[in-house]
């Protein structure tokens, strides 16, 4: 690693709690998380269930509004942006062009073919449709997904097949920062090996990753850095007590 390389993402003192008005409760999730992610490296988030690992990823993607802390993302133009505060339009632009998210579950329109689902992020970047479909097919073949499935909707696919579609969509756009939430949880060993090779090659191309893996051996094999999270103190306070 180049010692002078600046992190693409710096998380400083990120915390997230949920205020549930109906139950009059505060539910803590992530607490005072600090980490750096570098280009070409994979940082793994580890810790027990409830430590707020996914909450960190969702905070960076702004699916969750951070309660406190700074999430400093360095753009292609070398500008640092606090994702916790950034304008929504800017976040949408970054999602389209620079930050990708692969979750455990596939959320896609039920009426689209698998090929189209994967080509979608490329078409949104104004790539030519034919070229986008070609790249989508390359990615599907790298994922070991049988070719007879490419033209149909993944609605009837098995869990492992759906996850491959999901991964293919997340990886095809080659975003500068990739957030991975247990991307291999329901894959067979063979496919997992293929994915590992693919992730290694993305790292070689300078893509930065922040990932949660279900299996500790995947962390050992792929992570350049490990950040261990501890569960936030599980005291559910009422809104009144906080105020």
């Amino acid at each position: 690693m180049n010692i002078n390389e600046k992190p693409i993402l710096r998380v400083e003192g990120y915390s997230k709690y949920f205020e549930l008005h109906e139950q009059n409760k505060i539910i803590p999730s992530s607490h005072d998380v600090n980490l750096d992610v570098y280009p070409g490296q994979l940082t793994a988030l580890t810790g027990p269930t409830g430590a707020g690992k996914s909450t960190v990823l969702k905070g960076i993607y702004r699916t969750y509004l951070p309660s406190s802390g700074r999430l400093l993302f360095r753009t292609k133009e070398d500008v640092e942006i606090d994702l916790a505060q950034a304008d929504e339009h800017l976040i949408l632009e970054l999602r389209k062009n620079e930050i990708g998210f692969v979750t455990q579950f596939l959320h896609a329109l039920p009426r689209q073919s698998t090929e189209d689902i994967i080509a979608q992020p490329l078409i949104q970047r104004d790539m030519d449709r034919t070229q986008a479909r070609n790249l989508a097919c390359e990615m599907l073949s790298a994922m070991n997904l049988p070719e007879e499935l490419w033209g149909i909707s993944p609605a009837t696919f098995s869990g492992g097949e759906k996850q491959r579609v999901n991964l293919a969509r997340g990886l095809v756009s080659r975003s500068r920062l990739l957030l991975l939430d247990e991307p291999t949880a329901s894959l067979d060993p063979n496919t997992t090996e293929k994915i590992i090779t693919l992730i290694e090659s993305l790292k070689d191309d300078g893509i930065a990753m922040l990932a949660i893996f279900h299996h500790p051996e995947l962390v050992d094999r792929m992570a350049d850095n490990v950040v261990q999270l501890e569960p936030a103190i599980r005291i559910e306070k009422t809104l009144k007590e906080i105020a």
Binding site: E22, T63, Y64, L65, E88, E93, R111, I123
Partner: protein, 276 residues
Amino acid sequence: MDKVLEVRNLSKIYGKGCSSCFELTGSEFNTNICPQCGSIIAAHDVSFDLYKGEILGIMGESGSGKSTAVKCLYFDQAPSSGNAIFFDEGKKYDLFELNAAQQRGLANQRFGMVYQNPHLGLNFDISAGGNIAERLLMSEVKNYSDIRSRARKLLMRTEVQTERMDELPKNFSGGMQQRVQIAKALATNPSLLFLDEVTTGLDLSVQAAILDLILEIQQQQKTSMIVVTHDLGVIRLLAGRTLVMKYGRVIESGLTDQILEDPQQAYTQRLVASAL
């Protein structure tokens, strides 16, 4: 990124209004009827920006003011106060300062509106093709055969059988009427499209096809849209950003996935929790 619309402090009161109207209504008071003068505060202080190619969702239950906001922008109603600037091809239009003729011009050529009720968007006394021709005649196209071929293309685009273009809208199913409405709205290649509960009351399969069509139009033509709906599924599918309205106020706004997964306001939390 190009801004298409900038709305600031848009308000609409039905009734004579008084000095307490805004202070005594809203979420804290659980009403949008002024207790002093009985006026209805349909919208208050609505502000937002819309960018090119963006779909903005406005979500809320009946009477929350979501349609009122859109009707003011399409000049169906005059706002009580506030302003809106429309940016188009290098020009700026201060929407509520324009005279009636200028407003009609914009509504006919640069805006498109699709209503929940096709009777509001279509003239039921003339054919489907005639409806589209009507809108084209109000813009620049005047030649009969041009108009006819344009209308045919638009109906094809929205998957209405073109053999039926000379039939009256009343002969069509609800889903088809919506498609004719969309074709009519698209006739002049508007830069801004308003969609007011366009799939409400349609069969699920018809809803899905209409929503797919809307997404396709957005992707291919980069049309900016404001989608008004009470349906969380429609919001999830179409909108990148969402405003949540209640008692005429915007009580919460954000990225759509954030509004649905991490809603901040008690009302939005209830709304999301009650979705099927």
